[in-house]
């Protein structure tokens, strides 16, 4: 048991570091970067695209992908090692490309023909084109397959009508992966079909949603008589759910650790060192110490779980299901730590931003936490996934399972 690289891993790490030293400057200070800022700031976005192109030319943009497609046909462990080394350099985060490269393009690569792949993979991996994922709807959140956006075929052309919601980065995207209902007369999972489309074409109306936190990371998108050629279909007609599962599998691998704005036990301790409570310094208060320890063991447990996952990857094994627990732990911990920190701040805790202790970090964490507990699979859906896919428990009774979609009861 150790934390060392294997000889091959050490060699790759040295190569990656040498290349990074030749193409970027070491990071001096850790700045908190909001991924959405990068997209809304044209200069930052330009830098992000340039860096993405440089990496793609070398094959470091998507290391596990084939040569010529932004990768080197490398191992998942090599991708992790590159990420670790890259994080030490002052380079753009590239979060604008995460959904496209993490979810949409892998789906295109799995289901589309060579001509489509030749057209779309390279511009995406080089940062020239940004993709978003159009699955959730006002009437289909956790129950994604209950979506209602209709695609109707006439000759070789499909007409799309409906709306999507909670779409991250849609306002900055060039293309979208779109899940539609093509047959409402069969049970819900069987009447779906996947497409890709240009987000810039007529009839696509993107409207940012103002969140409870005040930020606008998500969008609602309205489709009005949008025309798509049948050549932009991804997978067979009626097979959309199977295609979507490929995308979602990639999503669960992408969403997870590293979230929560870096707010954790260390920041809570930093605050507790500065505050006085009824019986003395907060850091010496027994109740505060109990809480710190409770959250520390969850953070540390997650960190070492990640190392177990990396060990499996390093040995060429499939990571175990332990990878699926990260977001459940991180999201509620963020909410709880933030709320507790504000309790310690006391009456001054109602302040936000620069008026609050530690630049309002805990207020910000608390305001964003509800979103993290919902996005990319709610806490409840993730528990279902662990129960069903990891523990092998039976699915809940599905009253809509064998019922044609247009006969399924729906709320208002």
């Amino acid at each position: 048991m150790d934390f060392e690289d294997s000889p091959e891993e050490a060699q790759f790490r040295a190569e990656a570091r040498a290349w990074l030293e030749g193409h970027a400057k070491p990071k001096i200070k850790r700045e908190a970067s909001d991924p959405l800022d990068e997209r809304s700031d044209p200069a930052a976005m330009k830098r992000a695209r340039e860096w993405q192109k440089i990496k793609a030319d070398k094959g470091y943009a998507r290391i596990t992908w084939p040569k010529g497609m932004g990768g080197i046909g490398g191992t998942p462990m090599q991708a992790i090692i590159f990420g670790q080394e890259e994080s030490k350099f002052d380079v753009p985060a590239g979060s604008a490309f995460a959904i496209g490269l993490g979810m949409c393009i892998p789906t295109v690569m799995a289901y589309c023909n060579d001509a489509v792949k030749a057209r779309y993979v390279k511009p995406a991996v080089e940062g020239a084109e940004i993709w978003c994922q159009l699955f959730s709807e006002p009437a289909g959140g956790s129950d994604v397959a209950a979506l209602k956006t209709r695609a109707v075929k006439d000759g070789d052309t499909w007409t799309i009508n409906g709306s999507k919601i909670w779409t991250t980065g849609a306002q900055f995207s060039d293309y979208g992966l779109l899940l539609t209902r093509t047959d409402p007369n069969v049970p819900k999972h069987k009447g779906l079909t996947m497409f890709y489309l240009s987000m810039k074409q007529p009839g696509v109306d993107v409207r940012p949603i103002k969140q409870a936190s005040g930020a606008s990371g998500f969008n609602e998108i309205f489709f009005t008589d949008v025309k798509i050629p049948d050549s932009q279909r991804v997978g067979e007609v009626g097979q959309g759910w199977q295609v979507a599962l490929t995308t979602l599998m990639h999503e669960r691998l992408a969403v997870g650790g590293g979230q929560g704005g870096g707010l954790d036990v260390a920041q809570l301790m930093q605050l507790a060192r500065t505050l006085e409570l009824e019986d003395g310094p907060a850091i010496k208060n027994a109740a505060v110490r109990e809480k710190i320890a409770d959250w520390y063991v969850r953070s540390a447990g997650l960190k070492y779980t990640t190392l177990r996952t990396m060990t499996a990857l390093s040995r060429g094994q499939q990571p175990g299901p332990e990878a699926s627990i990260a977001k459940i732990v991180v999201a509620s911990k963020l909410q709880d730590i933030s709320a507790f920190a504000m309790e310690l701040e006391g009456e001054a805790g109602v302040a936000t931003g620069e008026d609050a202790p530690m630049h309002g970090a805990f207020q910000m964490g608390w305001l964003s936490a509800p979103g993290l507990r919902i996005a990319g699979g709610t806490d409840e859906i993730l528990r279902n996934i662990i129960a069903e896919r990891v523990l092998g428990l039976p699915q809940d009774v599905r009253v809509d399972k064998d019922v044609p979609f247009n006969k399924v009861p729906a709320g208002k």
Partner: protein, 374 residues
């Protein structure tokens, strides 16, 4: 990255599981519950034949000299099996105290007997309810004579020897503390069996009245030595706790799959699924923390105090939750004497208290964080 046990270590674990599945079912535990309680002497002898007590004891002292990682995998299996033997008292505490603080002569004299299973040992700190602190230790070691009372000493009736935290001088606080090594069959030792939350892990109150005893380690280092031993035991016990917690999850799952209510398996209700998913999350976090503790223990890393406290807190929380929610998942039948659920419920608390409660370990954990950030 190699944050896992080796193939050889996993083989030891598999062998241990196979051995215990044949020699130690819950029937073994139940027999003790239905009788007078205590340990299973036949199982102890068989475990001794396997050489498990000597897993981490150096060869020069009669052990196998394998190491702590090997002892961790054995501990997990003992925890899974609820093995009713004085293994933790003898191996994680008594032997570790000898290794940490004993002279060469003391080690040569006693460790081979631990390794062969001839000697049962234990470790005694608490003198009453509440926190164990330097100021609460009143037992004295003076002129080779031990006096005072220790309470709730696990395996205290069966043990041949004990390591006792005592006051070796009149100095206050830590400076006066010293570990004492005492033969429990000697004159001046009075033992009384006390009721134990887990009858398969018995306990005793022990009164010393001028009993012959020898110093184990230096005067003034008793508290630090005891803390060191507790850190080692915390990591090893965390593996027992993780093993027990995993069995609780498996039991709850099996029952929920076969128990039908309202026309379907209760495992299909989200109230049950989410409970089991939470058990799984807690167990995985506890396992990962225990692995880090194992790494720190096996390499003698300076992170050991933090790693041991985290392993301890995480594993205690996981086993407590899994044991109580396993009963809840079973419903009324889970609360009966005939069901096995209560064995785990009781063992989870026994293990959670015997090395000191969560409160104490959480305080140590945060103390270590304060030091590392200072």
């Amino acid at each position: 990255m190699n944050f896992d046990f080796s193939e050889e270590q996993k083989q030891i674990k598999d062998q241990a599981r196979k051995f215990l599945s044949e020699k130690c079912s819950t029937k073994t535990v139940r027999a003790l519950y239905n009788g007078a309680g205590g340990s299973d002497a036949a199982l102890w002898r068989q475990i001794a034949e396997m050489g498990w007590m000597g897993t981490a004891i150096p060869e020069e002292f009669g052990g196998l000299g394998l190491g702590y990682l090997e002892l961790c995998v054995v501990a997990e299996e003992l925890g899974r099996a609820l093995a009713p033997v004085p293994f933790s008292s003898t191996v994680y505490l008594f032997a570790e105290a000898l290794i940490a603080a004993g002279s060469d002569e003391q080690k040569k004299r006693l460790l081979p007997k631990v390794a062969s299973g001839e000697l049962i040992g234990t470790f005694a700190r608490a003198e009453g309810p509440g926190a164990v602190l330097p100021k609460t230790i009143r037992a004295t070691l003076k002129g080779g004579k031990l006096s005072g009372t220790k309470t709730a000493v696990t395996d205290g009736m069966e043990a041949d020897f004990a390591v006792v935290l005592a006051r070796g001088s009149d100095d206050a606080g830590e400076r006066g503390l010293q570990l004492a090594l005492v033969d429990l069959k000697a004159k001046g030792v009075e033992r009384r069996a006390i009721g134990s939350l887990d009858p398969s892990r018995p306990a005793a109150d022990i009164a010393f009245e001028g009993a012959n005893a020898e110093a184990l380690g230096k005067l003034g280092e008793g508290w630090q030595n005891a803390e060191r031993v507790l850190q080692h035991a915390a990591v090893l016990t965390a593996f027992e706790q993780v093993g027990g917690a995993d069995v609780c999850l498996a039991m709850a799952k099996d029952y929920a799959m076969q128990r039908y209510a309202f026309g379907r398996p209760i495992a299909s209700f989200q109230a049950i699924k989410h409970k089991l998913a939470d058990m799984y999350v807690n167990n995985e976090l506890a396992r990962s923390n225990a692995y880090y503790g194992a790494w720190a223990l096996s390499t003698g890393a300076r992170e050991l105090p933090l790693a041991a406290a985290a392993a301890r807190v995480s594993a205690t929380q996981a086993f407590d939750y899994a044991a109580k929610e396993n009963i809840q998942t079973h419903g009324g039948i889970g609360f009966t004497w005939e069901a096995d659920c209560h064995f785990y419920y009781k063992r989870s608390r026994q293990l959670g208290l015997a090395l000191g409660p969560q409160r104490a370990w959480k305080d140590k954990l945060v103390g270590e964080l304060e030091r590392s950030n200072a």
